[in-house]
Amino acid sequence: GGHGVSACLITKTDTNPFFVKMREGAAAKAEELGVELNTYAGKIDGDNETQVAAIETCIANGAKGILLTPSDPAAIAPVVEQARDQGILVIALDTPLDPIDAADMTFATDNYKAGQLIGQWARAQLGDAASEAKIGLLNINISQPTVGVLRNQGFLEGFGIDLGDPNKWGDETDPRIVGHDVSDGAADGGRKGMENLLASDPGINVVYTINEPAAAGAYEALKALGREDDVLIVSVDGGCPGVANVRDGVIGATSQQYPLLMASLGIEAIAKFAETGEKPAPTEGKNFYDTGVGLVTDQPVDGVESISVEEGLARCWG
C-alpha cells in the first residue's frame, strides 16, 4: 500500500477524451493502491504556463510523484528539474520531454511509429496507384508541436516520401503532396481544412489526419461533394468513436494508443518509488517505456502488422 503517498497527474488539456481516459486509468489505479491523486490540466493545447503552475502546486502540496503530458516539452524542463530536485519522481506520459532524460522516465506511444504504420498501410492499400496519389494532410495547429510533427513525418516516411527536415512539416518537395492544413484536432477544423485542401485540388485521394475527430470532419467535407468513397482517410489515436468510424468505413485505418495503460503504469511506478525508491526502467533498445501502438483496420495488408476492429474496440478509450 502507498498510504500517505500523494501523486499528481498533469495533462495538456482536460477536454480531449484521450486525457480523460488517462485520468480514469490513473484514478482507478490510485484508488486501488491507496494513493492520493490530484489532477491538473492546461486551458488549451500548448498551455505551458498552467502546467508550470500545476507543478509548483504539486511541490507546495508535497507530492511524491508527478505524471505529466507536457504541452511544451522543452519549455517545461526547468520546473521539472526543480521538482526532481525536491525528490519528486517525474514521469512523462504520452509525450517525451525535451531532452527525454529531463524526466525520470517516459511512458509513451511511439508517435513516429504510429505515423509510419498508417503511412505504410495507405501505400500498400493503394498499390501501384501510390505513385500518383494526391495527399492532403490535416495537422493540429501552426505551432507544430512535436507529437504532430512525429505523426505527420512518420506517415510521410511510411508512405515513401522524402522528408526534408524531419523536425517540421511543410518543407517536403514531393509533388504528390497537395498541401498541409490545420484542424485544431477537432471535427470543425477538420471539415474546414479538408474543404480548403479540396478547393485547391479536388483530386485528393489520400488524407492524413492528426486524430479521429479531424478525420470525421474531413469525411463530412468529402461527403458533401460525394467523394467519400474514393478517398482514403487515415488517422491516429484509437478512441472508441474513431475505431467505430474504421468499422463504418469512414476511416481506413488508425493507429491506436493506450492512455489508460500509460497512466496506470505511471501510478504503479510512483507507488513503488515511494515505497522502495526504485525508478522504472525503459523498454529494451529504446530510451522510453513503449506502451505500444496497434494499427486498427479490417483491411489488413501484407507486411504491416495490424489488429482487427473488434480487437480495437475492445481496447479503445473515450
Binding site: 501552426i142 492544413d181 477537432a186 478547393a199 485547391s200 470525421a216 469525411y219 467505430a244 468510424n245 473515450g318
Partner: protein, 358 residues
Amino acid sequence: MASDRTNDNYESALSGASTDVASFEYHKKGFVGRLHDLLHTNPALVPLIVLVAAIIIFGIALGSKFFSPFALTLILQQVQIVGVLAAAQSLIILTAGIDLSVGAMAVISSVIMGQFTFRYGLPAPMAVAAGLAIGTAIGALNGWLVSRVKLPPFIVTLGMWQIVLAANYLFSRNETIRAQDIEANAPFLHFMGYKFQIGGATFTLGVLVMILLVLLLAYVLRNTAWGRHVYAVGDDPEAAQLAGVDVHKTLMSVYMLVGFICALAGWVMIGRFGSVSPSASTGMMGNIQSITAVVIGGISLFGGRGSILGAFFGALIVGVFELGLRMAGADPQWTFLLIGALIIAAVSVDQWIRKVSA
C-alpha cells in the same frame, strides 16, 4: 447704461420672422455624387464594397477556380456558424456590451441536443427544443447579471464562458456522438445540413437560416420600436432610461435572444459537422471570430452605432480571405500572418471610404 437698453421690447420684432424651413442649393451630381450620398446614408454598404473588391481581386488572381459557384458557396458554408454567432454578437455589441460566451453557448446547446436524444432517448425535435431553451436560459442569466446586478458584460460573459464550457465537458463526459449514429437514429438533428442546389451552387438550410436571420434582425432593428430601443440603450443607457426606455427589459430581451440564436448556431453546427462534440473549437474561438466580424462590419464596440448587415459582410470578408489564401496555396503559417494583415487592410480601406464619403 444697461438699464436703458433693456427698455427696448425687442421680442416684439419677431412678428415678421420667416417661417420657411432652411434649404440650400444641392451640389453633388453624377454617379460619384450619388454613390457618395448612398454611402453617407447607409454606412453598412462600406464593408459590402470591401467584400466585393476582395472577391474580385481573388477572382482575378485565382481565375475560375475561385470564381466558381462551388467556391463561392463554399465560403457561405464555411462562414455559416460564425455568421449566425456574429448576428448574435452584433445585438450585444449594439447595447455596448460584449459576449465572450457565444461560442460556448452554441457548443453546449449542440451537446444538449445530441445527448438528450441519445442518452435520455428524447425524440430529436424535443431535444432540439430543449437545446434552444437552455441556450435562451443561459442568455437570460447573462442578461440578469448585466442588467440587474450591473456587472460589466465582459466579466459576466467571461465567467459564463468558462462555466458553460466546463459544464459542457462535465455533462457530455467528453463523449462525441458520431455522424453515422445521428444519421441512423436521429436525422432530424442534421436538419440544418440539408442540401439543395440552385444553378450549380450548393446551399444548405444552415446557410439559408443564417441569411434569413440576418435579414430579419436587420428589419427588426431598423423598423420596430424594440430595435430603436436597442440602439438607444447602447448609445447612452442613462439618457435612454430618462427618456422612458425600459433599459432592463431591453437588455434582458437582447441577452435572451442572443442565447437563443447561439443555440440555433449549435443546431447549425450539428448539420455542418455531422457529429456532436463537446470539444468543437467554436467553443474557444467563436467569441473572437464573431467579434472580429462585427468590428470589421463597422459596428462600434462602444455601442449604439452600426448595422447588423455590416457584421454579416464582415464575416464573409474573413471567409473570402481564408479560402482565397488557401486556394492560392499559401502555407498555413503564412496564411495566418496574411489574414492578420488583410484584416487590417480591409478596415483601412473601409475607413478611407468612410472618410471620402463623409
